[in-house]
Subunit: 224 residues, 2 copies
């Protein structure tokens, strides 16, 4: 049995949930605040943070923490369906875009997403409008790049679904939860996202409800 | 034959150089500014940036861009010596710390390292002292975490050298090039770094000289 500790609005945690669902790996999900101690995992190595996966199915308990460790781990150990192509050249393209997604969106997470969580989840009275504006600006520049890719490719890294799609869709879905993605500016990306959203693996994400928040109606709508 | 486009002061590029040297993979190094167009690689996919590796040794030319894509690629295709352990559990620990290194040090790269490059390489007249101070503060907090690890482990992820060591050492070496690592505050980490620095793979990094800069004497000194 596998167990995942995650925070529903964290894009990295969302990527892992999507991958587990795509691979139809059964897991038990535990909602946890980022930075909180996981009392069940006393021997968690120092500096571990969400997402954390415990795999107690083998002889030895295996703990993986961080998107990179977890996603490569499930790809290595639970082969089908693959979320990474077979050819080295294609794998390199998937990993390039996956890293692009994590690195580029980190800026949006720190500004826009963090500010939205402050506003709605932590009920902070003061809203840092500069940070919000910076975040929206950063998000728009990333969307421009993705629109170009979506215009020429079926999936982000080529012809088949991969971890690059899951990572990008997971990030966008977290921003979309707060209604922050200006979909109409990027029609090709919107089409790609509509396809991603229609996948069964996406359903748990679309059903997320975090206390204090209410996602816009279009968030869970497949025809948005 | 392999060819690497890299910027000598970029920690990600340094990580890749160390890995290629550790694996004794012959490559031809091309110094390039980050963000510059690589005219030789006209068909570089959109959004590619340094480091970029071209592998023209097989039937098909393979291009990998970004640390994640390149390092996993050479680990998959050039097996010995391994920079990743065999057991899934140990690989997860390597990838966790490798991701920790890239994510945590990104903050130091954006502040401290970027400011030093502005001062010395781009000869900017105005120094942003706030950004410098923030960078040094961020670096110190990361060093504290690493000192804890170095105190209990031979290598960062356990008993054998791995990509986690290379990534962490590459980042520290870039900051050390500008004399910014307060080694005396972290004796165990300093010892680990002395061992890393003594490896033959480190020699090319210690010989780096970027126009406009002069690394402190201790930078290339094995007994620093």
């Amino acid at each position: 049995m596998k167990r995942l500790w995650h925070w529903p609005l964290d894009p990295g945690c969302r990527t892992v949930r999507l991958a587990l669902e795509e691979k139809k790996i059964a897991f038990d999900a535990k909602v946890t605040w980022p930075g909180a101690t996981i009392s069940e995992l006393a021997n968690l190595p120092p500096g571990s943070d969400l997402p954390v996966l415990l795999d107690a199915s083998g002889e030895q308990k295996i703990i993986a923490s961080g998107t990179h460790a977890i996603l490569e781990y499930i790809e290595e150990t639970d082969a089908a369906p693959r979320l990474m192509p077979l050819l080295a050249k294609d794998r390199a393209e998937v990993r390039r875009l996956w890293q692009w997604s994590e690195t580029s969106f980190a800026e949006v997470n720190r500004s826009l997403l963090a500010e939205r969580e402050n506003q709605w989840v932590r009920r902070s009275k003061q809203s840092d409008t500069t940070r919000l504006r910076e975040g929206i600006h950063a998000l728009k520049s990333k969307l421009g790049f993705l629109e170009g890719l979506a215009g020429v490719r079926t999936y982000m890294a080529g012809r088949t679904l991969s971890l690059a799609d899951l990572s990008i869709a997971a990030h966008l879905s977290a921003y979309d939860y707060f209604g922050d993605v200006p979909w109409d500016l990027t029609p090709d990306l919107k089409q790609w996202y509509a396809r991603m959203k229609s996948r069964p693996s996406f359903r748990p994400l679309l059903a997320d409800k975090v206390e204090g928040t209410r996602p816009p109606r279009h968030y869970a709508d497949l025809d948005f």
